[in-house]
Structure formats: structure tokens, C-alpha cells
């Protein structure tokens, strides 16, 4: 299962606005995608409730994973998003 570990760049972490941008992108992807804190339990990257409840902070290491056709591309796309500053 393709996965990538990245450091969250958004200064406020995955709070309301960055979380919304991330979840919207994840929801558009054709495959199931998950987000986990490094070493933690994965949650659906397509759920605002679950992503916000993860309480991801700036600088946290998180794991993005996906499965199925196109999983690697999906992981890359979300990983790049997490590594950019979504606060603006």
C-alpha cells in the first residue's frame, strides 16, 4: 500500500482552513485515503470530523496512505499539499 510520511507545513496545523483544503482534495480522489499521526491510528482523509479530531499541528510528522488504482498518485498529491502552507 503506497504511503508517505511528511511534515505538516501549515502554521496553524490542520485546523479549519487547511483541513478543509486537504479534505476537499482527498474527497476528490478516486481511491480511499487515510491520514495518521506518525505511529498513530489512521483516519479517513475524506472526513472533516476525523481529520480535525486528529489535532495535527505545525511540524507534526503524518502518514498519508491510499490503496487501489492510482493510489501512488493520490498519496503524492496529498503529501505535496501537506508540505505546502495552506494558511493563506
Amino acid at each position: 500500500m503506497p504511503e508517505r510520511t511528511v511534515t505538516v507545513a501549515s502554521k496553524v496545523g490542520l485546523h479549519a482552513r487547511p483541513a478543509a483544503v486537504f479534505v476537499k482534495k482527498a474527497s476528490e480522489l478516486p481511491v480511499p485515503v487515510t491520514l495518521a499521526k506518525d505511529g498513530g491510528k489512521p483516519v479517513s482523509a475524506k472526513s472533516m470530523l476525523q481529520v480535525m479530531s486528529l489535532d495535527v499541528r505545525h511540524g507534526d510528522r503524518v502518514v498519508v496512505a491510499a490503496e487501489g488504482d492510482g493510489a501512488a498518485a493520490a498519496v503524492d498529491e496529498l503529501a505535496e499539499l501537506l508540505e505546502s502552507d495552506l494558511d493563506g
Binding site: H15, A16, A20, M48, L49, M52
Partner: protein
């Protein structure tokens, strides 16, 4: 099961498109409503009964027993205040009833600091079509704000 979402604040109920933040106004966080709060010290209350799964000074999420989450965001860009001016009166992880006090703040102070105190109340992971806004205009904390089918 249908649930009714109570207004967390006393003020004026407005539609999300009127919120001065494109992410909330564009329903990207989710559908719901917003409250333009009265400019006085007040305590935001839980919009539904459930568990306070996330509690920050400027925002909190209550999750109902059937798994629905409602986000209350006190003001716009208030994450940058680092909690200053917000006093927590509940504890993260606690079970709360609808209308239970959660955070005390003063929207007038937020506004004086150059930020909008308009507070979105969001049905997380809901379809926009599942939400019926009940109130438009004056609302008192604890009054029904919208209906989630």
C-alpha cells in the same frame, strides 16, 4: 435520526455565505450557519449533546452519540490569538449536554483586535441538502439554529 443544532452564542444568525472567510462562506468546511455575536462577554455553549472531542480556545467540536460532529469556530482567524481572551469552562473529552457552557470570550475584544467575531457553526461531513436553517436574525444561545436531517 434528525438532530437540532442549538446556537452556541447570542447574536444574529446569518447564512454561511455572509461569513467573511471564503473557506467557510464557500461551505468548504461544511454546511451550517453562523452567528454574528452580540459584542459583550458571553459564554459559547455546546450546540448538541455529545462528546467534546476537540477543544481549542477559539474552536471546538462536539460529536453526537450517532457520530455526527458539529464545529463551533469563535471568530475568523482567531487561531492567531493563541488563546488570549478565551477561557475554557469545559474539558476536552468530556460529555456535554446541548447548551452546556464551553468557552467564555468577548466578541468586542476580538473585533477591537481587528478580527471578525462572526462564528460559523458547521455540520461536519454533512451534505448541504441535509441542513435546514431555522433561524435568521436574533438568536439566543441555546435556541435552535439549524436542523440536520
Amino acid at each position: 435520526m434528525d438532530i437540532y443544532i442549538s446556537s452556541p452564542l447570542t447574536g444574529t444568525a446569518i447564512g454561511l455565505p455572509e461569513v467573511p472567510d471564503p473557506v467557510f462562506a464557500g461551505l468548504m468546511v461544511g454546511p451550517g450557519a453562523a452567528v454574528d455575536p452580540d459584542r459583550k462577554l458571553q459564554t459559547a455553549v455546546a450546540p448538541i449533546a455529545g462528546r467534546l472531542v476537540k477543544l481549542k480556545p477559539h474552536a471546538f467540536v462536539v460529536q453526537s452519540e450517532d457520530g455526527r460532529g458539529v464545529l463551533v469556530h469563535l471568530g475568523i482567524d482567531t487561531v492567531n490569538l493563541d488563546g488570549e481572551g478565551f477561557e475554557l469552562v469545559a474539558t476536552e473529552g468530556e460529555d456535554v449536554r446541548a447548551g452546556q457552557p464551553v468557552v467564555t470570550w468577548n466578541p468586542a475584544d476580538v473585533e477591537a483586535g481587528g478580527l471578525s467575531p462572526v462564528s460559523p457553526v458547521i455540520a461536519l461531513d454533512a451534505e448541504a441538502s441535509a441542513i435546514d436553517v431555522i433561524v435568521d436574525g436574533n438568536v439566543v444561545a441555546g435556541d435552535e439554529l439549524f436542523h440536520w436531517r
